[in-house]
């Protein structure tokens, strides 16, 4: 424990089990995805129909939680401003591994219709690892559900390892983040 008792600065270890257990846990992870209720852009308007009666994501085990500590999935819903990126990084780092990120809409792929704005992050993948992209402007709830099906498939096969990539290339990611966020005042890492 360091001087600030609410943050641990040490980096987490990676989890490793035997293959059978890994497969079993991957199956459980794929079947129970808790999404942190945090909307970054206009795409967050597509999330309420996805989790309520019409499209009912809960039948796939996808439900929303109100706190990043308990969440497995972070949805980047739409374009990211530089100001929002800082919050997204904090939320992402507060989530506990294994964690996954879904990028919604064209804005997360290449900036979308805001590509030439002074304030928009064009390539989100430079700053946090993204496991599944859902293209569209905006994608309908069906498309988001299809994206979740893709994510589940990746998790079951053990290929959804964006969080491992983030750990391995942490210095590089941090360098990229500090390049565009000028007043960097958050702890080095709040795991």
């Amino acid at each position: 424990m360091k001087d600030n008792k609410y943050f641990l600065d040490d980096k987490p270890d990676k989890i490793s089990y035997s293959e059978v257990w890994q497969k079993f846990f991957n199956w459980a992870r794929a079947k129970s995805l808790w999404v942190v209720a945090y909307g970054t852009g206009c795409g967050s308007i597509e999330i309420p129909p996805m989790v309520t009666s019409r499209f009912d994501a809960e039948r796939f085990g996808v439900s929303t939680v109100g706190t990043p500590r308990q969440a497995d999935v972070l949805i980047i819903s739409g374009y990211l401003a530089v100001k929002t990126l800082k919050r997204v990084i904090r939320v992402y780092e507060q989530m506990q591994s294994p964690k996954y990120v879904v990028g919604l809409g064209a804005c997360t792929v290449n900036g979308g219709m805001y590509y030439d704005s002074y304030n928009t992050v064009n390539l989100v993948e430079l700053y946090i690892p993204i496991d599944v992209y859902v293209a569209g402007c905006m994608p309908r709830p069906e498309a988001i559900l299809a994206g979740f099906a893709q994510l589940m498939k990746k998790i079951k096969e053990g290929r959804a390892d964006g969080w491992k990539h983030y750990l391995d290339n942490f210095e590089q990611y941090r360098k990229n983040q500090e390049k565009i966020i000028k007043n960097w005042k958050i702890p080095n890492y709040n795991w």
């Binding site: 609410y6 846990f25 129970s32 009666s53 809960e58 039948r59 085990g61 706190t67 308990q70 506990q96």
Partner: protein, 303 residues
């Protein structure tokens, strides 16, 4: 030698209670979904959630009480489940019930909540510090009608042993306390809604209002312990209320049916009401159930 049999039976009861509690949680989610016109998750969704939570990473530290609180919660749950007789006078399923078990159960029911309050206050998150203040206020609300009904039954049957209470209710459906002392039962059953934080009294967890309440900072393994504790505690309370008001059980099928009826009572009421504020909940508990319970309480004294 007999002590090992006791340990074995206790293990079976705890594991069975956990499995049953998780299943009830899944059924509750399914019923909620169907009432909202959704298909809903599988009834086994809670098992999957638990498996996932156990193997998530944990790297959060907020001090000693933060680590101890899930243990307190689990211990409170196991304590209640192991003290109430599921089937009275059965070697395996009467658990650790003894002459004064009602008093100890009353203590254990508060134990988990207090541990949880300490842990949540230690976790340094404003939402989780706010929730215990609401929870303890609401607990002061429902404890009063609950204690009134429990003490009333104890005085009426002249015993503080749950096994004796069950024995006093045998001999037909009209001997149940639900029909012998209907007003005390109404007070107790309304207090039960408060204990389960069912919807008119859901201000403690308050989804969408204060994140997820006390466990806001808890994740992964901690949360799985809380989840386990809550499931076991839930089953323990259903069994306790079955023993108090519904005449206990003479076999396992009867126990399942009666606890399931109590569970449906909580779930259906929970799904049709909006949420009370804390002071509204306390005011409700201290007026209607308390006054209704007092009718029978006075009747017992006059008799």
């Amino acid at each position: 030698m007999w002590i090992w049999y006791k340990v074995l039976y206790a293990l079976i009861v705890v594991i069975g209670g956990l499995a049953y509690g998780l299943l009830l949680g899944g059924i509750s989610r399914k019923i909620t979904a169907r009432l909202q016109g959704r298909r809903g998750p599988s009834v086994f969704q809670n098992y999957i959630d638990l498996i996932k939570l156990i193997r998530k990473r944990t790297a959060i530290s907020h001090g000693v009480m933060f680590f101890l609180a899930p243990m307190f919660r689990l211990l409170g749950g196991i304590g209640v489940l192991l003290l109430v007789p599921i089937i009275a006078n059965n070697t395996a399923l009467s658990n650790f019930s003894f002459g004064g078990d009602l008093i100890v159960v009353l203590y254990f029911m508060v134990f988990g909540c207090l541990g949880m309050a300490l842990g949540a206050a230690d976790s340094g998150h404003p939402h989780s510090a706010l929730a215990p203040t609401r929870g303890l206020a609401q607990m002061a609300g429902y404890e009063l009608p609950f204690l009134l009904s429990v003490i009333g039954l104890a005085i009426a049957h002249n015993t503080v042993s749950l096994s004796n209470l069950v024995a006093a209710q045998q001999g037909g459906i009209l001997h149940w306390n639900l029909f012998q002392y209907p007003f005390l039962s109404i007070a107790g059953l309304i207090a039960m809604l408060g204990m389960y934080m069912a919807y008119p009294f859901s201000v403690v967890m308050a989804p969408q209002e204060i994140a997820v309440g006390p466990p806001t900072e808890y994740s992964s393994t901690f949360l799985s312990f809380m989840f386990t504790g809550r499931s076991i505690f839930g089953v323990g309370k259903y069994v306790l209320f079955m023993d108090l008001f519904l005449g206990g059980a003479t076999n396992l099928v009867e126990a399942f049916v009666k606890t399931f009826v109590l569970f449906l009572f909580v779930v259906f009421i929970s799904n049709v009401f909006p949420r009370y504020r804390t002071e509204q909940a306390v005011r409700f508990f201290w007026t209607y159930p308390l006054v209704i319970g007092l009718i029978d309480f006075i009747r017992i004294f006059i008799k």
